[in-house]
């Protein structure tokens, strides 16, 4: 088990190194930030001063070495635009994103898993078709459209919910639904296919032959086995929700990390973009690691793998 974790940890570090290099290079393809950081018509000397201040005058590999050097010390640099440490900015936005992601995840699991089980148990019948329609809509309607439709319906026509901003639980409902919508469909589809595969197995046949009730066969024998891939997906999706809620957060003006990233790209605020991506990437890597360990706890076959 210890060896298993150590090896996974090594892979994780390697992925993060590659990620840092990639984002560092790609964000520099968006253009020169000094043109946005100086007044129009600024003198050569002013521009050079700004470049020097942010270290943009140095060769790119020196910039990367400097970036990695402070990253190892835990320093993500300072935002060009806000002039405050990126970590501070990130942490100030994180609670909002976590709240949004938690509610969206809860919603996607509460809706996705039972409908997935229902569709698998009633395969080929009404509930299965209803589930398929739901999955199709969930996976194909983009979240900005769902968000805009909800604003139209619940804020404009019914005037039940605030259309944007944050502060109360009511503000959270629509963005969480818009964000969780896609994931609910994804969780439903995976639960369904995973359940179907398990329900066709010999050990489910044997469980029935033991004279167990159908409920017990499904809940105890099938569901636990079917849950393994769903746990993986949900873990990864949780992180995706925090880091990929850019569109939903922009539509609902929700002050989370997604919007921070959106702003960072708009202002060519390299440290912010790098910081958000590196932290997001680290989370994904850490969660993958945790999911692997969790797997090993659920499934004894992985536990003993050398």
């Amino acid at each position: 088990m210890r060896q298993f974790i150590a090896r996974r940890f090594g892979y994780s570090l390697l992925s993060l190194l590659l990620l840092s290099l990639t984002i560092f290079l790609f964000i520099r393809l968006t253009g020169d930030p000094t043109s946005l950081l100086t007044e129009p018509g600024a003198t050569e000397a002013d521009i050079a001063a700004v470049q020097q201040k942010f270290g943009l005058d140095k060769p790119i590999w020196v910039q990367y070495a400097y970036f990695m050097g402070s990253l190892i010390k835990g320093d993500l640099g300072e935002s060009f635009y806000y002039q405050t440490p990126v970590l501070e900015l990130y942490l100030s936005r994180l609670p909002n994103s976590l709240m949004l992601a938690t509610v969206a995840m809860a919603f996607s699991l509460v809706l996705g898993i039972p409908t997935g089980i229902l569709a698998a148990v009633k395969v080929g019948r009404f509930w299965d078709s209803a589930g398929k329609l739901f999955a199709l809509l969930g996976l194909s309607l983009p979240s900005f459209l769902v968000g805009l439709l909800m604003i139209l319906f619940f804020s404009v026509y019914l005037e039940w919910l605030p259309s944007s901003g944050s502060g109360t639980f009511l503000h959270l409902l629509m963005p969480a639904f818009a964000l969780g919508w896609y994931f609910a469909a994804a969780h439903m589809r995976l639960t369904r296919s995973s359940m179907l595969e398990v329900m066709g197995s010999e050990y489910i046949k044997l469980a029935r032959l033991k004279g167990l009730t159908e409920t017990r066969v499904i809940v105890k024998h099938a569901f636990k086995n079917a849950l393994i891939p769903v746990v993986t997906l949900a873990g990864i999706n949780m992180i995706n929700m925090i880091n990929v809620a850019v569109v939903v957060e922009t539509v609902f003006a929700w002050p989370g990390i997604g919007r921070l990233l959106y702003e960072g790209i708009n202002f060519r605020d390299f440290p912010v973009v790098q910081g958000v991506v590196i932290i997001g990437g680290s989370m994904i890597v850490v969660v993958n690691l945790l999911v692997d360990v969790l797997y090993a706890l659920i499934d004894p076959r992985i536990r003993l793998e050398k």
């Binding site: 010999e202 032959l209 004279g211 167990l212 004894p300 076959r301």
Partner: protein
């Protein structure tokens, strides 16, 4: 006189396609009788309906299959007439079944103790602790060494032969009256097969149960069974005591099956096989289903389906050649 352990009367199970246009008579008009301590071998080619017959007896058929007629009397009680809830109390308790793939029959996420003890908890309301204690005894009964430590282990830690014994232990856990073994040795190697067959025979004697062997191995039938039923295209074409059927098969199909066993005492260049293919089960020909492959076929076979004849006491055959012996 008490009722026989199991009596099937004109039992039929058909698969119906979703559109209802194709009907496969997987089990058709099957009648069989066996008593406690009997061992019945059911043999036939793949697709002859052996496994469907077993699933029918426990009523755990796939959704497309229906029992369309007949009776299944277990100690005089008709299982076809039982509700699903009543039937659930029969499964694992009065009739148990051993599936053919030991590698896939155990749930990978539960310990051996939990899985072996589960029928006891379901049918006898045993606590988890007492079910585990009994599970240790059952593992001992199926000759698994160090059962005390084995109960805490998981299926992936066991070999195929050991898993098959565990499946056997699950089968006998509630001391059923009838144990159905569906090709229980196909995935085991020969020495383990022999051990497992001996184990099943000992269990049968110790627990006094009726045993049904579903197999295509006539050697196993000869070694284990006192009764034999030969299935072809969903029907029992011949049945009777093993000694009678082996010595004087009344149906040409049985004779051909027996003839196809290679013998050490003969010098033969080629193995003898039965020519042709089993018929399409959804479009059976008129007359006898075996007619197209039968070496002794005559006109009547292609026109009329043979009824059940009784060539000798206890022996039945669905063949026109046996006519007049009724």
């Amino acid at each position: 006189m008490t009722a026989p352990l199991l009596e099937l009367r004109n039992l039929s199970t058909h698969y119906v396609s979703a559109s209802g246009t194709r009907v496969v008579r997987a089990v058709d008009d099957v009648s069989l009788t066996m008593n406690a301590r009997d061992t019945l071998g059911i043999v036939g080619e793949s697709g002859s309906g052996k496994s469907t017959l077993a699933l029918t007896m426990l009523r755990v058929l796939p959704p497309a299959a229906r029992i369309v007629g007949g009776q299944m009397l277990l100690e005089g009680e008709d299982l076809v007439a039982k509700s699903e809830e009543e039937m659930r109390k029969v499964r694992g308790k009065r009739i148990a079944m051993i599936l053919q793939d030991p590698m896939a029959s155990l749930n990978p996420l539960f310990s051996i103790g939990d899985q072996v003890g589960e029928p006891l908890r379901q049918h006898e309301g045993a606590s988890r602790a007492s079910a585990w204690k009994k599970a240790i005894g059952l593992l001992k009964a199926v000759r698994i060494p160090a059962p005390e430590s084995r109960v805490t282990q998981y299926p992936h830690e066991m070999s195929g032969g050991m898993r098959q014994r565990i499946v056997g232990a699950i089968g006998i856990s509630c001391e059923p009256r009838l144990l159905i073994a569906d090709e229980p040795t196909t995935s085991l190697d020969l020495t383990i097969q022999a051990q497992y067959l001996n184990l099943l025979r000992d269990l049968q004697q110790d627990y006094g149960l009726g045993l049904i062997f579903i197999t295509h191995n006539l050697g196993i039938v000869a070694k284990m069974c006192n009764l034999l039923a030969v299935m072809y295209a969903g029907r029992v074409v011949e049945s009777g005591p093993v000694s009678t059927v082996f010595n004087a098969p009344a149906h040409p199909y049985t004779a051909a099956l027996l003839h196809s066993i290679p013998r050490m005492t003969e010098r033969r260049e080629r193995l003898s096989a039965i020519d042709g293919q089993p018929p399409d089960m959804s479009a059976l020909p008129k007359g006898c289903a075996f007619a197209a492959r039968c070496p002794r076929v005559f006109d009547r076979c292609r026109q009329e389906e043979p009824p059940v004849f009784t060539p000798s006491p206890g022996q039945t055959a669905r063949c026109w050649l046996a006519e007049g012996t009724r």
